[in-house]
């Protein structure tokens, strides 16, 4: 039990101290890190919950079941605080699916696993992000995040406060599956995946759907006093937590559990990670209604024990006490200090000369795997169920969801492992910056985020240094822009089991933002011919880890883009004011592929071309290719109707945000010049074709 509870996965032995440095408070934060999900006040008694989880190791062995049960896990977290799951977000990393059969197999099955589970439980998958890089060849990353809504007064905590209350196990039966799963996740992938067969879990989205519906109904009875999902570590982890948080103890009889196989030992039952189970603490006297609701939905529920006042977790097998340990001791494992060492880097990188035909470069970037469109993925996800999805995947920089109180919630997750590998501080702060920009691009004000930090073996001092840098990057940036971190997750031991090489460090940020009642929101697509195109933000020579470098030269080197929280704060709020004042017809941020790719993307939605001259663009000195493809943060492309141009310019100037009017929408192609010299001339139809076909092409499917 101690092994399971104290494993890295459950208790953050290596990371807890560092994670304390993240800013976690804010005016909207009701629950921060340390709970099953972060909870935000969305106004009018309405709350929004957020959580992110990964299921990397199980997915590398069983991509379909691993990804599916990952969704199941994060749904449980959102449900267990009493909120209704309303949206899923998936963030995925694979090897090169254009070349590797294995990566194709992982990719196809992970996406299908997410689709089958999410679609069946009726929670739309509304946004996500994907990258392809060789370092994920055998250790793909499968991160899933979930957003919930509820009423403030209905929140339930993972605690058992009142001795005498009963403890109920609801949902599927307990089997041997996932036995040692948490300890498994905290280990590098075994050489022979087959020997880990016990950690493969079979997803049952139908049971999860019944659990969600029945528990949400049961909450209405007021009989539910506490709730805790059974995730990593199973009961051995959940029981000490509810007892420790409530200042109580729990006594349970292992024989009352409904077991799937007859010969499961008490220890196995305690640490089993069988899916679709939930632990409920029900009122000592009033619990009949809640139980009968579970029964109506056909959800098995058994009373397995009760809350005590002795501060112990007592496990009985019939009349015999098989284990007794203080809850606090189990719930608060010791911290391990780790060594960290910065890697030595050569600083003699010289930017290679760019190819002469920049139109061709742009097209090859657009159709590359890391920039290309993601329709192949998100069309498999039901992104509409629940009739809340205002902006859908592929339609805008962030998804936008209707909340019950009339506000709109924007969400998007981002990461950049190439930049993080070069400079984990910049990479980590950069992914927060990008996710914020995506949320701002649709007109929402960023209000909170959750992060997910994924690294190799923390025992390796260089890996651990990267982790420290990433935490520092997230903390500094969030503090700088004033966004609280309300939750997160750390996943270590992600490495290639054949070569032993760690994955590229992969910090992920999921940012949530709000659009007020009756405020405007926008999309990225150019709307009207003749609209003027405004470039906001300054371009610096920051090509390290760029899509341009890897597509054209096959290298990842140089200076990774580093965002400035002070400047971003000003820029973001200016862009929001433009949108709210009705001055912006469309807004799109510059990210992977730089300004040129961003311009091309604005042409796609309505097949409107653009004529652009970059002469006045705010930028440091650099060559044309660098100007087009540098991935500096803090930049937006905004289209403005001609009569509004001077008002928009005035607003930006007063906000002291660098900007320039660089072009005009219209025509059937995107033309970009610099001081009169034509750099790029591409048909919009070609842009669309290249961008939409990249994944199908890599998979060898005809469109």
């Amino acid at each position: 039990m101690i092994d399971a509870e104290w494993s890295e996965h459950c208790s953050y032995k290596s990371s807890k101290a560092l994670l304390k440095t993240l800013p976690t408070s804010g005016s909207r934060v009701l629950l921060g890190p340390g709970y099953d999900a972060g909870v935000l006040d969305a106004g009018d008694g309405c709350v929004v919950s957020l959580h992110i989880e990964s299921h990397n190791h199980p997915s590398a062995v069983d991509p379909y079941g691993g990804a599916a049960t990952g969704i199941g896990g994060v749904l449980r977290d959102i449900l267990s605080i009493g909120t209704r799951p309303i949206a899923l977000i998936d963030v995925l990393r694979f090897g090169n699916i254009g070349e590797s059969q294995r990566s194709q197999w992982l990719f196809r099955n992970v996406v299908r696993g997410i689709a089958d589970y999410g679609n069946c439980v009726g929670v739309p998958t509304v946004a996500g992000e994907v990258e392809f890089d060789e370092s994920f060849e055998r250790n793909c990353l499968v991160d899933v995040a979930c957003v919930g809504v509820g009423r403030r007064r209905d929140l339930v905590l993972a605690q058992a406060k009142n001795p005498g209350d009963i403890v109920v196990m609801a949902g599927g039966s307990t089997g041997r599956d996932g036995v040692r799963g948490a300890t498994f996740a905290s280990k590098s992938l075994a050489r022979d995946a087959d020997s880990e067969r016990s950690s493969v879990q079979v997803p049952d989205p139908f049971m999860k759907k019944l659990l969600i519906d029945s528990i949400l109904d049961a909450l209405e009875t007021g009989e539910v006093k506490g709730m805790k999902d059974l995730g990593g570590g199973g009961l051995s982890s959940a029981l000490p937590e509810i007892a420790s948080k409530g200042g109580t103890g729990v006594e349970l009889d292992i024989r009352r559990l409904s077991l799937r196989e007859p010969d499961v030992t008490p220890l196995e039952a305690m640490i089993s990670e069988s899916q679709e189970r939930m632990l409920l603490v029900l009122d000592r006297v009033r619990h009949k209604k809640a139980l009968s609701i579970l029964r109506k939905y056909g959800v098995p529920a058994t009373i397995i024990g009760h809350v005590t006042d002795d501060g112990d977790i007592t496990v009985k097998d019939g009349a015999d006490v098989v284990a007794r340990l203080p809850a606090d001791f189990l719930a608060n494992p010791p911290l391990i200090p780790r060594d960290s060492r910065a890697p030595v880097r050569q600083s003699d990188w010289v930017e290679p000369e760019s190819p002469p035909d920049l139109s061709k470069v742009l097209l090859s970037l657009l159709s590359s795997l890391n920039v290309g469109g993601r329709r192949w993925i998100y069309e498999q996800y039901d992104h509409e169920v629940g009739v809340r999805t205002v902006l859908k995947p592929g339609q805008a920089d962030a998804a936008l969801l209707k909340l019950p109180n009339g506000r709109l919630l924007a969400v998007k997750a981002d990461g950049n492992s190439a930049a993080s590998a070069l400079d984990p501080y910049s990479g980590a702060s950069g992914c927060v910056a990008e996710a914020c920009r995506n949320v701002v691009s649709v007109g929402a004000e960023p209000v909170a985020m959750v992060d997910h930090l994924q690294f190799g073996d923390p025992g390796d001092a260089r890996v651990y240094w990267g982790f420290e840098e990433a935490v520092r990057g997230v903390a500094d940036y969030c503090r700088g822009v004033g966004i609280p971190v309300v939750g997160g997750k750390v996943s270590f031991y992600n490495e290639d089991q054949l070569t032993g090489r760690p994955i590229k460090p992969t910090p992920i940020a999921l940012v949530a933002g709000l659009v007020d009642k009756d405020e405007r929101f926008v999309g990225p697509a150019l709307k009207g011919r003749g609209d003027r195109i405004v470039l906001i933000g300054k371009t610096s020579m920051e090509l390290g880890g760029s899509a341009y470098h890897s597509t054209v030269f096959g290298v990842q080197n140089g200076v990774a883009p580093r965002p400035s929280p002070q400047e971003d704060r000003r820029t973001n709020s200016a862009v929001l004011r433009l949108i709210r004042a009705g001055l912006a017809e469309s807004v799109h941020d510059c990210s992977k592929g730089g300004m040129a790719v961003a311009l091309a993307e604005t042409c796609m939605g309505r097949s409107i071309g653009a004529e652009v001259e970059l002469q006045g663009a705010p930028a440091t000195r650099m060559g044309p290719a660098s100007l087009l493809f540098s991935e500096s943060h803090g930049r937006y492309i905004v289209s403005v109707r001609k009569p509004n141009l001077s008002k928009a310019g005035g607003l930006l100037a007063r906000a002291r945000v660098p900007y320039a009017v660089v072009g005009t929408a219209g025509g059937r192609s995107l033309r970009i010049s610099l001081r009169g010299r034509r750099l790029v001339d591409v048909d919009v139809a070609k842009i669309i074709e290249g961008k939409e076909s990249s994944i199908s092409r890599a998979l060898g499917e005809e469109q």
Binding site: D62, G175, R176, V200, V202, D204, M207, E261, G298
Partner: protein, 80 residues
């Protein structure tokens, strides 16, 4: 060739078919398990060779996932 979840693993589909469809109407039925059947038509010298060939294909092409499924190859007497 038959693919099904490993014996120790859950079979939610079989369970639901049994619980919600079969059980109340046919008391003689005791359980249902679900699997997938792939019928390969191959050129081979004999039934044993065919069987071996299909097994190789299934292993190499990852037609099933050994981590989650069991796979059983048998020569086909079933009519097409």
């Amino acid at each position: 060739m038959i693919i099904s979840n490993k014996a120790a693993a859950k079979d939610p589909e079989g369970d639901v078919i049994y619980q919600d469809l079969v059980k109340s109407r046919f008391s003689q039925a005791e359980s249902v398990r679900v699997g997938k059947l792939l019928r390969f038509k191959v050129k081979a010298a004999g039934s044993l060779e065919a069987q071996r060939l299909v097994q190789t294909m299934c292993d190499e092409l990852r037609i099933y996932n050994p981590a989650a499924h069991q796979c059983h190859v048998s020569p086909g007497r079933l009519s097409e």
